[in-house]
Amino acid sequence: MEGNNSNDHYDHEGSKMGMWLFIFTELLFFGGLFFVYAISRYKNETAFALAAEELNVTTGAINTIILLISSATIAMAVSAIQLKKKNITLIFLAITLILAVVFLVNKYFEWGAKIEHGIYPGSEILQQLGYGEILYFGLYFAMTGLHALHIIVGIVIILIISVKVYNEKIHAERFVQLENTGLYWHLVDIIWIFLFPLFYLIV
């Protein structure tokens, strides 16, 4: 009924479905951490609220906006490739990359400041603060760390994809890899959309 195969057949729809399934696994992968967050928060409400004061909302908000813009630009890149505008596609991808790097730099300073203050898993200061704080910062480092790891992987993938666009391996007829990269990047964005209020805003 649907398209039929042989090994080198190009099936846009199928590849995209595979990507969606992968995104589902990612959602549940982070989901596990969100469960732990939810339960820990429920049990240590005040400590979580106090600990959240330690984080800088401005940094978080800036990073949120950076990711949102990068998400939009990669989505535009997908439109551009279909419009057969190779150069514009590349420009959009480049902007996405730059924004991703800026996000990481921001993160680096944010983490650096925390670690300088002696707040990191297993640190002396944290041990003295109490259970809720230990959990909060444990989750903070684990979740934003895992998220940053995804950003790094995303940067590598976008680089590869850009080269492929440049070499015209990816073009208006065959762009599912670009679209899938976009999907992945949006997922990373969505996860951040939730991390931001959970760690920075709710106090």
């Binding site: 009924m1 090994n7 399934l21 982070f30 339960i39 820990s40 049990k43 259970y131 230990i134």
Partner: protein
């Protein structure tokens, strides 16, 4: 389209020769066989570990090993059996081999990813098993890695955790691959409700693999973080909650038991109609029950934690849902039985396995009902009764399903027939050994013998002797079965295209199948 002159997949020469031609082949059939050989190897390891435990338990006190070794052995036995054998088992071996053929495709959707899954499987296995040979003690946590013991113990738990994590990845990739294959590559005319039942069962399984496995992945990573970084998610000394660990572990591991059993049920749903020479009774009901098991099975994990101190609401909900999840299994059982009604039954080796599957699966499943009851569970939780339940349903259900499948499809896979009388003898000895081995454990559990016990009080002695004796009978059976199959794969007489008169697509292609299965993609009317 039979009697093709094209080379079959066993003889085909690709880019590489010899062994390399296998371990780098993206042909789904070769990958299926790679899995077959690796899983069987681990199975023999795991089975021998089981045997060692039975030697130890034959008498109270020290028999052949120290408590330390016993704890390490049941941990390794559990990890190999669950993560290396029954979870990948049927989907990766029989599923890989037959799913594309049964839906009329040339290969799975992502052949390369398929190969990567196998490599990940091997990598995960090597990492997990390396824990045995590294400096320090072998892991001794049980396959459940319960917190906080799993980060208190000094043994090499890390490699076991990371190995299990990698194996999870392999499982996810197989799942993704199968779902896309079934969505995109069904032969023209094969509507969803014309798809054979084995692919259907793999479809349900694949969704569980995709949606449940990530949870165990992240949970195991959290335990790793706990050990390495002292983060404290589950450590009461740092404010964490050990029961939360159990929730997360079972959120995966209960659905995982349906990852194990569903494909096995799929095999049975193929074997029974073929040998009853009749269509399956109530095709739609069987399909729906498959999907229901997959869905409801997601929400019953708490029945492993009835005594862990959960809230009353949870206890109520989980016990209730546990009973509900039995219904789809019951529907399946009744449909299988009804298929036999007014059939014309040929009793050959695969059918012996299928029928004994029914019997043993019923015992296993029905004993699950006893465990699902709150009051009875208080008494039976963490006793030999649970051990009996899950050996009946995991080993009995999945193992018997697998043996049914392998005897059913053997002629198709290898193009040769096995010796039926040896196979039947092996089955009989195995079946008797199985009952002798595990039935006494129900009794032991009811009289109160806890599980994971290296030593026990004398009143448990008699039943343990019988049980150990059963293990020895089973060795004999298993050895006959395996030796017979290995010998026949090389030397057996050439098999016909369709030795049993099966109706599904795989029986229309040559034995063994050609490289891309079909010369021409069949059209289903």
């Amino acid at each position: 389209m039979s009697n093709s002159n094209l080379p079959n997949y066993l003889e085909y020469k690709g880019k590489y020769k010899g062994l390399l031609g296998w371990i780098f082949s993206t042909d789904h059939k070769r990958i299926g066989l790679l899995y077959l050989y690796s899983v069987m190897t681990f199975f023999i390891v795991g089975a021998l570990l089981g045997l060692l435990m039975k030697f130890e338990l034959i008498a109270p006190g020290k028999t052949i090993m120290e408590a330390k070794s016993y704890n390490a052995i049941f941990t390794l036995h559990g990890i190999t059996m669950i993560f290396l054998i029954v979870i990948p088992g049927i989907p990766a071996i029989l599923g890989n081999f037959f799913l594309p053929i049964m839906i009329g495709a040339k290969d799975v959707f992502y052949p390369k990813l398929n190969l990567i899954s196998w490599w990940l499987y091997i990598l995960g296995a090597v990492v997990a098993l390396s824990s045995q040979f590294m400096h320090g003690a072998s892991p001794d946590t049980g396959w459940t890695f319960y917190a906080p013991y799993s980060f208190r113990t000094q043994s090499n738990v890390l490699p076991a955790l990371i190995g299990a994590f990698i194996l999870g990845f392999s499982s996810i990739l197989t799942g993704i691959n199968f779902i896309v294959t079934m969505h995109r590559l069904r032969a023209p005319g094969m509507k969803w409700l014309k798809m054979p039942l084995f692919p259907w069962s793999l479809y349900g399984t694949a969704w569980i693999q995709v949606l449940a496995t990530p949870i165990i992945g992240i949970t195991l990573l959290m335990v790793v973080a706990e050990r390495v970084l002292n983060i404290g998610f589950f450590d009461p000394a740092l404010g964490g909650d050990p029961v939360l660990y159990q929730h997360l572990f079972w959120i995966y591991s209960h659905p995982a038991v349906y990852i194990m059993i569903l494909p096995s049920m799929g095999v049975i749903s193929e074997v029974i109609p073929t040998f009853a020479r009749k269509e399956i009774f109530g095709y739609n009901a069987v399909v729906i029950s498959t999907l229901l098991i997959a869905f409801v099975g997601y929400f019953v994990w708490g029945h492993h934690m009835f005594t862990a101190g959960m809230s009353e609401t949870s206890l109520f909900a989980f016990s209730f849902l546990t009973f509900l999840v039995a219904i789809p299994s019951a529907i399946k059982t009744f449909n299988w039985l009804a298929t036999l009604y007014k059939g014309s039954i040929i009793l050959k080796t695969p059918m012996y396995w299928a029928v004994s599957f029914l019997f043993i699966f019923m015992i296993g499943g029905l004993s699950g009902m006893v465990l699902g009851s709150l009051a009875a569970n208080v008494h039976l939780h963490d006793t030999a009764f649970v051990v009996a339940h899950f050996h009946f349903i995991v080993f009995g259900g999945v193992g018997f399903g697998f043996f049914a499948g392998i005897h059913y499809w053997f002629p198709k896979i290898f193009g040769r027939m096995y010796d039926a009388s040896w196979a039947d003898t092996g089955w009989l000895i195995f079946f008797i050994g199985f009952l002798t081995l595990y039935a006494p454990m129900f009794y032991l559990g009811i009289t109160g013998m806890p599980r994971r016990y290296y030593d026990y009080v004398p009143e448990f002695h008699p039943a343990n002797i019988i049980s150990s004796f059963g293990a020895f009978i089973m060795i004999a059976g298993l050895a006959i079965i395996i030796i017979n199959l290995i010998r026949s794969a090389k030397k057996g007489p050439k098999a016909e295209e369709s030795p049993w008169g099966g109706k599904t697509l795989e029986w229309t292609v040559s034995s063994p199948p050609i490289v891309e299965n079909f010369e021409e993609i069949p059209e289903i009317k």
